[in-house]
């Protein structure tokens, strides 16, 4: 499904990684580890097609992601460091917007249900400006609980600012995604308890 061939990236004249080969199948989990500044986020952005690698290629189902374009982005769910939550919109409106942007028309009840699964159903009609850091993160992560989710999840530090209860909820969503044949690439400093057969792990900066 997701493959990289001899991927290399440089940032500010420093080589972060080179000759990186990844092969991730349907239902596969890849954990990206490494110290601060070792290039985890850069790798995730390369995989999402945001950052152009200095060498090598990222392939999805055998084709280069650059040539796939929207066909790749329809299969992709990328959550970066910033939760992309707008202060002026309510929690529900924020989630509704990100659904519609990703091309899915999802009913309001389903969005409310997704918020419930992240434990923030009570906040649905509150402007996101009143949320705490962890609640914002939960709002962004509620996309994982929507029906018909993307095939490939790229989650960059999804557990940052989350409490133990939320970590448990996110872990079980990830496990369900993998069991349904989705692929997952994850960077995290905390351990996420997802039991997956054939889970891989790479260490950057070593």
């Amino acid at each position: 499904m997701l493959e990289t061939r001899e991927l290399a990236c440089e940032r500010g004249g420093r080589r972060l990684f080179s000759a990186l080969n990844i092969a991730l199948d349907a239902g596969g989990l890849l954990r990206v580890r490494g110290a601060n500044g070792s290039g985890k986020t850069t790798l995730m952005r390369c995989l999402a097609g945001l950052t152009r690698p200095d060498a090598g290629a990222v392939r999805w189902r055998g084709s280069d992601i650059g040539s796939l374009g929207d066909a790749y982005r329809r299969d992709l769910l990328f959550l970066g460091h910033s939760p992309a939550v707008k202060d002026d919109l309510t929690v529900l409106e924020n989630l509704e917007f990100s659904c519609r942007l990703s091309g899915a028309e999802i009913a309001v009840e389903q969005i409310r249900h997704a918020l419930e699964q992240l434990g923030i159903a009570k906040l649905a009609d509150l402007p996101a400006g009143y949320l705490s850091q962890g609640q914002r993160r939960r709002t962004a992560l509620a996309r994982l609980a929507l029906p018909r989710p993307a095939r490939l999840w790229l989650l960059d530090e999804p557990l940052a600012a989350l409490d133990d209860e939320a970590i448990g909820r996110v872990s079980s969503l990830c496990a369900a995604h993998l069991a349904a044949g989705g692929s997952l690439v994850l960077t995290s400093h905390q351990e996420i308890a997802v039991a997956a057969p054939g889970a891989q792990s790479i260490e950057l900066g070593s």
Partner: protein
């Protein structure tokens, strides 16, 4: 087209909840245009001759004031990143944001401009030309402004740089826009000026969004 509607609707909704941002630009425009008679004295012929130029320059400055916000908030909170990884054409994203910017700044400025014209004792028949020149010209400010706002995204002191970058690009709009009203004042048909302004709008709508897309991709690399 789908993405266009989604983003336009969202930008307008956010603006409705932050009416202050929209009003600031409009009030700035009115204040700048009203300061000139205080500075140059109340000589009616002089004021009439300079009215169109003053209104147009005030509109350019108001646009520059509003442009840094076009992409900055979406860039800072990660929404822009989500727009790039979404299955939507980036061109539609840029066009939607430019359209929202015009609806929230250019259009109100154009609608208020005839009142300022009255303040400068412009004859009634030239007020329509002033309005028409601004209706054709203010979309140029949003389209070229989007490209420059994208270019200065994430640059320290980007606001000042944005002004330096975008104001020279606005010169043709200023010349033809103010020229149309000037021509009417001396009894010449303004349609030539307005046609040239329309041509400049056509060029801007091709070049502006395309340049903004390229600049956004670089800013988020």
């Amino acid at each position: 087209m789908h993405g266009f509607g989604i983003i336009l609707q969202r930008d307008l909704r956010i603006a409705l909840r932050r009416k202050g941002d929209v009003l600031n630009v409009l009030v700035f425009f009115v204040v700048v245009a009203s300061l000139f008679p205080l500075g140059v004295g109340p000589e009616p012929n002089q004021l009439r001759a300079m009215a169109a130029g003053v209104v147009w320059i005030a509109a350019l400055l108001a646009a520059v004031l509003s442009l840094p916000r076009l992409f900055a908030a979406d860039y800072a909170d990660g929404t822009l990143e989500q727009m790039l990884v979404a299955p939507q054409s980036l061109l539609m994203v840029v066009l939607a944001k430019s359209a929202a910017h015009w609806l929230l700044t250019g259009l109100p400025l154009a609608l208020v401009a005839p009142l300022i014209g009255l303040q400068y004792d412009l004859p009634i028949e030239t007020l329509g030309v002033l309005l028409a020149s601004l209706l054709i010209g203010t979309p140029v400010l949003s389209l070229l402004g989007a490209a420059c706002a994208a270019l200065t995204l994430g640059v320290r002191g980007g606001g000042a740089l944005l002004g330096l970058l975008v104001l020279p690009l606005y010169v043709p709009a200023l010349v033809f826009g103010a020229g149309a009203v000037g021509a009417t004042l001396i009894g010449i048909n303004p349609s030539a000026h307005l046609s040239l302004l329309g041509a400049f709008l056509a060029v801007s709508s091709l070049v502006g969004p395309w340049a903004a897309c390229a600049a956004l991709r670089v800013a988020l690399d």
